[in-house]
């Protein structure tokens, strides 16, 4: 059934179809609508779940961890300062190998206080051990919600999954979304079964300490789990395409990159405007391309190196900066190229911080700049008419 929905509403529909048994909720702009819709679904009976109002984000994820440790499929959602407040629990969830799914509405972090979208919140947590996906539109958001549990709960992975939606630009924008049927969803996603749970018949040690003699083994296994997601994502997307007819392309999505001289690497909802700009430049004879990173963890090292290998220059456009260095996505992309022995000139464009608009003209200028030999780290707009 097709409906005109916002990104938050579409994600809630996907979660409804995934049948979580426990939902812990603490509202924060711009995430609020997703937990509101889920509470309505529980109220009207279209979703059977334990809906738990908690007193903070730290408790929201703690509650999800407890539910997952009891063998339940658990969901929570957050954003920005909420994600940072629950940061301690992110590591508990990942280290405990609890396949919780969490939606994060990507939003700026304080100070200055700001509720608008950028990606500094989630990118600051890349090392927490979670799978991290970034949606471009509402349909992908719904589809990610459904796929996320199948990926996270796979025995090879057993890792929590963070699905990121750009605040407002995606969470609050309405578009047509195809909602799968209950039957389709149930055939795609079986109920959660795990041995990693509290079971009085088969007692086991969970969430324990591990000293220097064994700790590194757990951390190695955790690393292997996230790496294994790469293969499981591919398998899950193939099964998804078979059931629902929509095909996703793994850790990255490329557009006109095969023969491209100049490529923008980006993530999230700005990718569409990058593709449209590449189309426009192609008409003027500029071989422009776009690669959208769909997963930051596991990171698409091989894909990035293969896509950028024959380009003359690339730019990483991201809504994030690691102060004193550069954008974190840029760091990751450069590492991928270095490991593969690929030498291509790269530049970093920091844009959209605190929700600032990134226009088609901004993107066109990136292509022009890198074609003219630009390299380095640039904040889009700084030095323009309305600022210092």
């Amino acid at each position: 059934m097709k409906k005109f929905l916002s990104g938050n509403e579409a994600f809630a529909e996907g979660i409804r179809l995934a049948r979580p048994e426990v939902i812990s909720a603490y509202p924060i702009t711009p995430q609020t609508i997703v937990v509101e819709r889920l509470s309505e679904m529980v109220e009207d009976g279209s979703l059977t779940a334990e809906y738990v109002h908690v007193e903070s984000e730290h408790s929201a994820l703690s509650c999800a961890i407890g539910a997952s440790a009891a063998g339940a499929r658990a969901f929570t959602a957050t954003s920005s300062q909420g994600l940072l407040y629950m940061a301690e629990c992110l590591y508990y969830a990942a280290g405990g190998r609890f396949p919780i799914v969490m939606m994060n509405a990507d939003r700026s972090t304080a100070l200055p206080w700001n509720i608008y979208g950028d990606q500094r919140d989630s990118l600051s947590q890349l090392d927490s051990g979670w799978i991290q996906a970034y949606a471009e539109n509402a349909q992908e958001a719904l589809d990610l919600a459904l796929m996320s549990y199948r990926i996270a709960e796979d025995k090879r992975v057993s890792t929590p999954f963070m699905a990121n939606l750009d605040g407002f630009v995606l969470t609050h924008t309405y578009e047509t979304v195809d909602i799968p049927t209950r039957e389709q969803a149930d055939s795609f996603l079986p109920p959660y079964e795990t041995d990693n749970r509290i079971d009085f018949e088969n007692p086991r040690n969970m969430a324990f300490s591990a000293g220097p003699d064994t700790n590194y083994i757990f951390k190695f296994k955790e690393h292997e789990g996230v790496l294994a997601a790469r293969e499981v994502i591919a398998e899950t997307e193939a099964a998804f395409a078979e059931t629902f007819g929509r095909l996703y392309t793994g850790l990255t999505e490329s557009y006109l990159t095969d023969d491209a001289d100049y490529i923008i690497v980006t993530l999230g909802s700005i990718a569409g405007l990058c593709r449209e700009t590449a189309d426009k430049l192609r008409k003027n004879g500029v071989k422009a391309g776009v690669v959208r990173i769909r997963y930051m963890r596991p990171f698409p090292n091989e894909e990035i190196a293969d896509i950028l290998r024959n380009a003359k220059a690339y730019a990483v456009l991201e809504k994030d900066v690691s102060f004193g260095n550069e954008g974190t996505v840029f760091t990751n992309v450069n590492s991928a190229l270095k490991k593969a022995g690929v030498e291509v000139r790269g530049s970093n464009y920091i844009g959209g911080l605190g929700g600032r608009n990134i226009s088609a003209a901004d993107i066109e200028k990136i292509y022009t700049d890198i074609a003219n030999g630009a390299h380095g780290v640039e904040f889009i707009g700084i030095g323009g008419g309305d600022n210092g």
Binding site: K2, K3, F4, T29, P30, I115, Y116, G117, F168, V169, L170, H172, T173, Y174, E175, T176, S269, I270, A271, G272, L273, R275, E276, G355, N357, I358, S359, A360
Partner: protein, 170 residues
């Protein structure tokens, strides 16, 4: 692409109108729309903007409209001739007002809303836009109200929308 910029005050339902238009346009399939509010805290009475983008191919530009085909103003205290700067050359501005306004088409939308016992003019303004522009059919606009407004207010809003569309298509 056809772009509509809606101007209103918090509580007037400008974004609801933007959303209804997108839902109406895409109802028959094969067409695409984005609808979004000016992002930020919602405050009753504060000026708000909303946007609808309509196209025959997927709309990927999620940035705010800079050159609209239509600007629909729900509260005439928000109208200023300088809004022309946000219009395409062929664009038109529709204002809810009892008096004439320089550079805009004005209609007494409040009068029509009052006839139908509606506290807001959003569906009246949508009806005026539908009648003037033909971007969607009145039938699809009615279907959108049925699909996306609470049932108890559907009938009055449908009547007001049809009355407004008729007002300008005569």
């Amino acid at each position: 692409m056809t772009e509509i910029l809606w101007l209103g005050r918090g509580g007037q339902g400008a974004f609801t109108a933007a959303k209804l238009l997108g839902a109406a346009y895409t109802a028959d399939g094969g067409r695409y729309a984005l609808a979004f509010p000016s992002f930020g805290p919602e405050r009753r009475g504060a000026p708000v903007r909303a946007f609808t983008k309509l196209d025959t191919k997927p709309v990927v530009d999620r940035s705010q409209t800079e050159h609209a085909d239509f600007i629909v103003v729900l509260d005439d205290t928000l109208y200023s001739p300088s809004l022309r700067g946000l219009l395409k050359d062929s664009g038109r501005i529709i204002v809810n007002s009892k008096s004439a306004a320089d550079g805009a088409l004005t209609f007494d939308a409040e009068g029509i809303a009052a006839e139908h016992r509606l506290p807001t003019v959003n569906t009246v303004m949508l009806g005026l836009l539908v009648g003037l522009s033909g971007v969607v059919t009145a039938e699809n606009a009615v279907e959108a109200i049925k699909g996306y407004m609470p049932q108890k207010i559907q009938e009055r809003n449908i009547a007001a929308l049809l009355r407004a569309a008729e007002e300008v298509s005569r």
